[in-house]
């Protein structure tokens, strides 16, 4: 019984980390219809900035996180203006893949050049590091922080998209850009804002998830598949879907690794195949 509870807890924590690092991509893919393979690259930039801010500038973790998100948005903005904007009108999936892989390669190369090939640490404050006794077992303190961040992010995004004027405009622009434009909604601004949110979330997730997915130049390529898979299984653009898929895949992965570690990867990808085969648009995705 204790073991079951323990595994369930590990699965929840892992699922939440998956959610944190991929929700930005869900926003991008669902609302802007862009299969952004460079999502991991943005997360990685966030991680590097947070690492630089806390190690070299000595800033507090609590300051380093928003700073990382903000700076990553600033870095990504020119990319939106010069490159991503081209993709909004042209929905050819292959062009999107080529461009975003190109961006990923470029960012990896630059990161490797600037920061070197080694892992970069984002030191945790003492209050978030080490084990935490929750009664029946020890849990990494940072996982609790990730749980809180994940819940807060999910709630905030849901409120933003469902309960605000901005959310209505976004959904209008997504459903019918021409009609929205005719109604006086400036879709290019909406897209820009959504892009910034997605990139900010990527950076946020990159920093918070760095305990499990450490920051190094090949981060962007190494975990590219995981992000894409989680978002698709949940249904692109659905916050609740991404949440659910993260939890399910987290559970499949954690349980699988506990029961039969030597077949660990099989559980994760079999679960993906099963989910996608039964729900082609993702768990909570809408038909496009």
């Amino acid at each position: 019984m204790r073991t079951v509870a323990s595994i369930a807890l590990d699965a929840t924590c892992y699922g939440m980390t998956l959610f944190m690092i991929s929700v930005g991509l869900s926003v991008m893919m669902g609302l802007m219809r862009i299969v952004n393979l460079a999502h991991g690259a943005f997360a990685m930039i966030g991680g590097y900035i947070a690492s630089y801010a806390s190690v070299s500038l000595g800033l507090n973790y609590a300051i380093a996180i928003p700073l990382a998100a903000l700076c990553t948005i600033l870095v990504a903005l020119p990319l939106e203006v010069v490159l991503y904007r081209r993709l909004y009108a042209n929905s050819d999936a292959l062009t999107q893949l080529l461009l975003t892989i190109g961006i990923t390669f470029l960012i990896i190369g630059v990161a490797n050049y600037v920061f070197g090939p080694t892992l970069k640490k984002i030191p945790l404050p003492a209050s978030l590091s080490g084990p935490f006794d929750i009664g029946f077992r020890m849990l990494p303190t940072h996982r609790i922080f990730v749980l809180a961040c994940g819940c807060a992010t999910a709630l905030a995004l849901w409120l933003l998209l469902e309960r605000t004027e901005f959310g209505i405009r976004v959904r209008a622009a997504v459903d019918n850009a021409g009609m929205a434009e005719a109604l006086g909604i400036r879709t290019s601004r909406i897209y820009l804002a959504t892009f910034c949110i997605a990139v900010g979330l990527a950076a946020f997730g990159g920093v918070v998830g760095a305990e499990l997915l450490p920051i190094e130049p090949y981060y962007a390529l190494r975990y590219m598949v995981i992000f894409l898979v989680v978002v698709s299984a949940g249904g692109a653009g659905s916050i609740a879907g991404a949440f659910l898929a993260s939890m399910l895949l987290g559970l499949a992965d954690t349980t699988g690794k506990y029961l039969m570690p030597e077949f660990g990867e099989f559980f994760f990808y079999s679960a993906v195949i099963l989910i996608v085969a039964i729900f082609p648009n993702g768990l909570l995705g809408r038909e496009h």
Partner: protein, 391 residues
């Protein structure tokens, strides 16, 4: 056909050019991971060789030596073979060296006989490589070599029940077999042998499994990089360390470049390895001074630089013995049973296996003057590759 004949003659001419003009440089082709996730180790090849050249000059006698680098990038045997072929045929190298990954080294082995090119393996650690061609010498290590002492230490220090957790790929399976065989032969019990997928990021379920097994000691091997860090952190953060479970590993898990990331929580981890940056000897000091003087960062010294440094020593010896001629048999004969003092300690080339015989050290992760390092606390002298040699 005529073209074929011409290029054949040209090639033959190049072969004999050495006799005519002794001043022609001997070229050495180095294939290593210069870019990609393993770039640190390939760049360490270059730094190690640079350090050797800086200390010993770029000539053997009056024969200049030139090193040419190619990027193997990732495990990709077809690419490595093409690179080696290009180096042999186009760049006319007389020696090949480097190779971080086992499949890449294996792909090159069949070329060596026909082209009469000795190969000095500077990393790829699967035992069988040296058996693929009589022209292969290795200056790195094998999993068996480093793991057997770990099992002996575990036994010595009173471990009764051990859980083994290794990455699920070739070297991991070697480490598991070596530890299990040795530990059980010494009378210990292995209560759990976990094989973890290479792409594992969350090690919590593995830790849970170890906890459930009731082991008092964990032995682990993972390839250096993001997973090692995740494993050590999970070990600490899931409370295993606090509950008194001991962690032992090969040095791959606590490589010096990773130590700052592991942090103070890692203090006390035991590992067995053939080289520690902190190794206290005049040879190592001279080596590291040179490494840093040439622009290398102290925190980025990896074991591949020492393997390359020693490899360069072998190449110089071979060139000297063959007077710059392409004579792989004489070259290999010259280094068989050669012994010297490396930055890692006294070493020799085993004449039977052509693999390096070296001390393996038990190290403990400690903090000295605010810097984490692996401190050598016990020495296992002149260890062979236990998979190939029995004594």
């Amino acid at each position: 056909m005529r073209k074929f004949a011409v290029s054949l003659t040209a090639f033959a001419a190049c072969l004999f050019a050495g006799t005519a003009m002794a001043a022609d440089p001997i070229r050495v082709g180095i294939v290593g991971t210069m870019s990609g996730p393993y770039a640190l180790f390939g760049q360490n090849f270059k730094r190690g060789i640079d350090a050797w050249v800086a200390q010993n000059g770029n000539k053997v006698g009056d024969i200049p030596v030139e090193f040419i680098y190619r990027d193997e990038e990732a495990p990709n045997p077809a690419k490595s073979r093409a690179l080696a072929q290009e180096l042999i045929v186009k760049e006319k190298v007389q020696y090949l060296a480097g190779f971080y990954f086992t499949p890449n080294a294996l792909a090159v082995a069949p070329l060596l006989g026909e082209s009469k090119t000795p190969l000095i393996v500077m990393n790829a650690a699967t035992s069988a490589i040296v058996e693929k061609s009589p022209y292969i010498v290795r200056t790195s290590f094998t999993m068996w070599q480093n793991t057997k002492p770990a099992a002996l230490v575990a036994k010595e220090r009173g471990a009764k029940k051990v859980a083994i957790a290794v990455s699920d790929y070739g070297p991991g399976l070697d480490a598991e077999a070596a530890f299990k065989g040795t530990f059980e032969a010494a009378g210990g019990t292995v209560v759990e042998a976990i094989r973890m997928p290479l792409a594992t990021t969350d090690f919590s379920p593995i830790m849970q499994r170890i906890k459930d097994s009731g082991a008092d000691t964990v032995f682990t091997f993972l390839p250096s990089g993001p997973p090692t860090l995740g494993f050590v952190k999970a070990f600490i953060d899931n409370g295993l360390k606090a509950s008194g479970v001991k962690l032992m590993s090969t040095g791959d898990v606590v490589t010096e470049p990773d130590l700052p990331n592991i942090g103070d929580a890692g203090i006390g981890i035991l590992s067995t390895y053939h080289y520690a940056v902190s190794h206290d000897s005049p040879e190592n000091k001279a080596f590291i001074d040179q490494f840093v003087k040439d622009g290398g960062k102290f925190d980025e010294i990896a074991m591949t630089s020492v393997a390359a440094y020693d490899g360069a020593r072998l190449i110089y010896k071979m060139i000297e013995a063959t007077k710059g001629q392409r004579d792989p048999d004489a070259a290999i004969a010259a280094v068989k049973s050669m012994s010297w003092v490396s930055p890692r300690g006294p070493v020799s080339i085993d004449p039977e296996t052509r693999h390096i015989r070296q001390n393996v050290y038990l190290r403990e992760l400690v903090k000295v003057d605010g810097k984490l390092l692996n401190k050598e606390i016990q020495t296992f002298e002149a260890q062979p590759d236990w998979a190939l040699s029995k004594k």
